[in-house]
């Protein structure tokens, strides 16, 4: 009996302690006609040896293409120590730290994580994580609606240069609460959200403005101007940021005169493998004034009866298990293990390490763009500053090109025409620090072949 330790003798003794004749008797309250005999549709059990073979074959079947896709998930180097430690049983198999005294390991680690996220974002406080960046933005929108007491409109300005799936997820999650998500256009030449596009909302009742830095196109927004514009109009600012970029880019806590109100993003670039899309984690930081509107768990430092430092879950009155239908969110389980890994990751890289990773990604993408845009039929689609991702315009539909590249074991990027009618033949590319000169040369060669 895999994973079940009972012996025949023990089963016998236990049943007689219960006073039941059989295990089946314990299920006597289930109406007989609803009881099933078994689960014929499930295959029989396997040994670990057999499942090893099956999974190894399947993992191998998907190959190891050279990846130039970013678009929200990035192939970064992760130190070996990160997951070796994160998967230690004491982290891996613990529950949410409800019994603080028996969970100081996880609690202190989360406190350190919160400290690292506030360090990166230059914000006052951080929570212990949300599911991912996209759902994190949805929570930020809901939070902004609670936090902006001055606004009644529940209207949120959403730039179109935001990762489109972040917009979709936000819509799915906030739509039932009378919240209106308003598209804001980007400048076709630069990919940026211009103040001109915001002009129509000046003086209007707007709850929050979302700013994505970098944008989905990799282009950089004038974050100071946008933030100041919003605050001047009593609009809260929600920053959506790539946390790795914050090693080198101005942190949202310093945008404009006052910094943003809420900063969210996906923690994947900080120690989570791409792994088909998850588990990653969403992080959320905010100004101290808004902390009681935050969703999710928060750890605080305190003292015990003897005055020793210790850590606890705090401000729980915001949460569903206390507040139920009045909670700030329904979130309960979050992404603890990935946060654990990420905290170790950040401590191993340090600020300097993250700066070098960011710079290296940026330089590799620049090199890639230079190399590819030298090819006939390829142009750089957007001008102006960008960070570690870029848009190229091809002389052909992107989908066909990507298929041709995949046959050569290259994942060439993300087809922007899927989401943006105006970006016909536009391809979003990214070369992280993991891409070598050789990788880039292979890409250039394959692209040249695919285009002619």
């Amino acid at each position: 009996m895999p994973f079940i330790p009972h012996t025949e003798n023990e089963i016998h003794d236990m049943l007689s302690a219960i006073g039941a004749d059989s295990i089946d008797q314990l299920f006597d309250e289930i109406p007989a006609h609803l009881k099933i005999k078994g689960l014929d549709g499930i295959p029989p059990g396997m040994t670990e040896m057999d499942i090893n073979r099956l999974m190894q074959d399947r993992a191998a079947a998907d190959g190891r293409p050279i990846c130039f896709i970013g678009a929200g998930s990035y192939e970064h180097h992760i130190p070996s120590a990160v997951w070796q430690i994160a998967t230690r049983g004491e982290y891996y198999t613990a529950y949410t730290p409800y019994q603080a005294e028996a969970s100081q390991g996880t609690l202190q680690l989360i406190y350190e994580f919160q400290s690292m996220m506030t360090a990166l974002t230059a914000m006052d406080v951080s929570n212990a994580s949300l599911y991912d960046g996209a759902s994190g933005l949805a929570e930020a929108v809901l939070m902004a609606v609670r936090a902006n007491r001055k606004s009644k409109s529940r209207r949120i300005l959403m730039p179109r240069n935001l990762n489109p799936v972040y917009g979709k997820v936000t819509h799915s999650i906030v739509q039932h609460q009378d919240i209106e998500l308003v598209d804001v256009d980007f400048d076709a030449d630069t990919g940026k959200t211009n103040l001109a596009a915001l002009k129509p909302y000046e003086g209007e009742d707007i709850t929050a403005l979302v700013i994505s830095q970098p944008s989905f196109f990799g282009t950089l927004e004038d974050v100071d101007a946008l933030t100041d514009w919003a605050h001047a109009n009593n609009i809260l600012v929600i920053a959506v940021v790539n946390p790795l970029s914050l090693a080198v880019l101005k942190p949202p806590g310093e945008w404009g005169e006052q910094g943003v109100d809420i900063a969210v993003g996906d923690g994947q670039p900080l120690g989570a493998p791409m792994s088909s899309g998850g588990p990653y984690y969403g992080f959320m930081c905010c100004k101290k004034a808004h902390v009681r509107q935050m969703p999710g768990r928060i750890v605080g430092r305190t003292v015990d009866q003897q005055g020793r430092e210790g850590f606890v879950l705090t401000l729980q009155a915001r949460e569903q298990h206390i507040r139920r239908s009045k909670a700030t969110s329904n979130i309960c389980t979050n992404q603890g293990l990935v946060v654990t890994a990420s905290t170790i990751h950040m401590s191993l890289l340090g600020a300097n390490g993250l700066e070098r990773v960011a710079a290296s990604c940026h330089q590799n993408t620049n090199a890639l763009v230079e190399k590819l845009s030298a090819i006939n039929g390829v142009d750089c689609a957007m001008s102006g500053p960008r960070f570690h991702e870029a848009v190229l315009k091809l002389n052909k539909p992107v989908a066909d090109v990507l298929t041709a590249l995949a046959e050569k074991n290259i994942l060439g990027g993300y087809d922007l025409s899927q989401d943006y009618a105006e970006l016909e033949n536009c391809l979003l590319v990214c070369a992280t620090e993991m891409r070598t000169e050789k990788d880039i040369a292979l890409y250039a060669e394959a692209l040249e072949a695919a285009l002619c």
């Binding site: 219960i18 314990l26 006597d28 689960l39 014929d40 499930i42 396997m46 670990e48 499942i51 190894q56 190891r64 990846c67 678009a71 929200g72 192939e75 997951w83 049983g89 891996y92 529950y95 949410t96 100081q104 202190q108 506030t118 406080v125 759902s135 990762n163 799936v165 819509h171 799915s172 039932h176 609460q177 009378d178 090693a247 080198v248 088909s276 899309g277 998850g278 588990p279 984690y281 605080g300 305190t302 015990d304 210790g310 009155a317 949460e319 239908s325 909670a327 309960c332 979050n334 992404q335 603890g336 946060v339 654990t340 170790i344 191993l348 600020a351 300097n352 993250l354 290296s360 500053p385």
Partner: protein, 484 residues
């Protein structure tokens, strides 16, 4: 000591990042960071030592019996971890084309099907990233269904008072108001009250069965009929399927939608608070509304279904497809167990719970629902001890830590005073259950002879009871803030 306190300014660990110059010259100064982020600067050894030592301050399944009710702290087979972390799976970009993803998609497709089979539902979507998100997707589908039928006046969700906090919180997020239904002394839903509450405003009912009181809802068919007759839909909070796997299926009971916490029943680890998976199953009529993406099979090829295929979908819950790594772990677990193994889960989880309840009753403890068999969990109420000895459930819980046992869930469900919700799971051996029972007996004796001692427990942990009031009042939420 915090990792930040091991920092020495100017320490550089050059091994983990490329040796690039950090200079970026093509981004304007005003968009750049001015000073480095105040992150720790430590050596690999310092980080390894710090986080290895910290880990030892945790209780976990791998080190302790952890009978936390409603949380299903069962063994997490180590193979699930190593196979989900095969390099091929870890390196797969979520947007890789289907042609380079057949191995992964095959696992997801089979997982969907196995979940349909164990729950009796018609379709499954794997995208919700925890139970609460599964609930959200489920209730949003109920709403989408009513909306699609033009049935827009249904504004209320009914929820028994024993429900998990995520249920009412979810209903609110979906724009519903919540009406609580009381529970009878015997643990069943008060059907009379339910009948009184139901009406044309009823969008649906969210029910956990077996309930968080640890008993099977005997009137389930009647309840289903009442709701369906009123035009509402039935939501099954399947966070804990451990009690019914291979015994009875929510679909057969008449439920329209169910989420399953794969991090409970299907043994993906809790990781100190996640990641989880709240995969969501639907009956035929809700299929068009499932959240995306979902894997389908065409011929011998697998592919993702998207908005184009499913125009009525409630949409996306995550940037990609949910917690893929968690799903792979659940897949491996289900394949290891197979059909017989799954049924055994319910049998032995139930055996263990009933054995503990019987033994504790024998030792003089009071079960919340003493006359029925428990499901996979059961409740002890210490209200007598609280009254007679001034010793609370919390005191018992803290003292258990000293004796090497994680405490059961305390003070949930809210309707039972001074309660301990105990869930041993099927993976614990009799010796562990007996040890725990003896520990409770010892604490009961201590409560009688030296109640003050219990008030200050635990004694053997890294800290004793922490000042939670101070934590909430004098907020110290990050290293930076405390230095200000």
């Amino acid at each position: 000591m915090l990792i930040f306190e091991h920092t020495a300014a100017g320490r550089k660990t050059k091994i983990q990042a490329p040796e690039t110059d950090t200079k970026i010259s093509d981004i304007p100064e005003n968009l750049m960071r001015k000073t480095s982020a105040p992150l720790p600067e430590v050596s690999e050894m310092q980080a390894v030592r710090h986080y290895t030592s910290l880990s030892q301050k945790n209780f976990s399944i791998d080190t302790h019996f952890y009978p936390l009710g409603s949380c299903t702290m069962k063994h997490n087979p180590r193979a699930c971890n190593s196979l989900a972390m095969l390099p091929g799976f870890l390196a797969r970009h979520p947007l890789a084309p289907d042609t380079c993803s057949q191995g992964f998609l095959a696992c997801m497709y089979e997982l969907q099907n196995m979940l349909c089979e164990v729950t009796g539902m018609a379709g499954f979507s794997l995208t919700p990233m925890a139970g609460a998100q599964g609930e959200f997707a489920g209730v949003a589908m109920i709403r989408a269904y009513h909306d699609a039928n033009g049935d827009v006046e249904r504004k209320e969700i009914l929820i028994p008072d024993a429900a998990h906090g995520t249920n009412p919180a979810t209903a609110t997020m979906c724009g519903y108001s919540v009406k609580e239904i009381p529970t009878l002394e015997n643990g069943d839903v008060d059907v009379a009250a339910l009948k009184a509450a139901v009406g044309p405003q009823t969008a649906g009912l969210m029910l956990t069965n077996p309930s968080t009181l640890g008993v099977f809802e005997r009137n389930i068919e009647e309840i289903a009929a009442v709701i369906h007759k009123a035009g509402g839909l039935l939501y099954y909070d399947g966070a804990n399927l451990n009690a019914i796997l291979g015994k009875i299926r929510p679909g057969d009971m008449g439920f329209d939608v169910i989420h399953s916490n794969l991090h409970k029943t299907f043994s993906t680890p809790h990781g100190g608070g996640g990641p989880g998976s709240g995969a969501i199953g639907v009956s035929e009529r809700l299929k068009p509304f499932m959240p995306l993406p979902v894997v389908t099979r065409e011929g011998d090829q697998y592919r993702w279904l998207t908005e184009k295929d499913c125009p009525q979908s409630i949409g996306r819950m995550s940037a990609f497809m949910g917690n893929a790594g968690v799903l792979l772990r659940a897949y491996v677990y289900m394949r290891l167990l197979g059909r017989e193994g799954m049924q055994r889960v319910a049998e032995f989880a139930t055996l263990n719970a009933n054995y503990m309840m019987a033994k504790l009753k024998e030792k003089g403890f009071q079960a919340a629902i003493p006359d029925r068999y428990a499901s996979h969990e059961f409740i002890i109420t210490l209200k007598k001890q609280a009254k007679d000895l001034n010793v609370t459930a919390m005191d018992f819980a803290k003292r258990l830590l000293d004796l090497g046992y994680h405490a059961p869930t305390t003070y949930f469900p809210l309707l039972v005073p001074e309660c301990l919700l105990i869930e041993p799971t099927e993976s614990e051996a009799k010796e562990a259950l007996d040890g725990f029972i003896e520990a409770l007996v010892q604490i009961q004796q201590e409560a009688e002879t030296d109640p003050d001692m219990l008030k200050a427990a635990p004694y053997t942990m890294p800290v004793n009871r922490l000042d939670e009031v101070r934590a909430a009042r004098q907020l110290d939420l990050s290293w930076g803030s405390s230095r200000d």
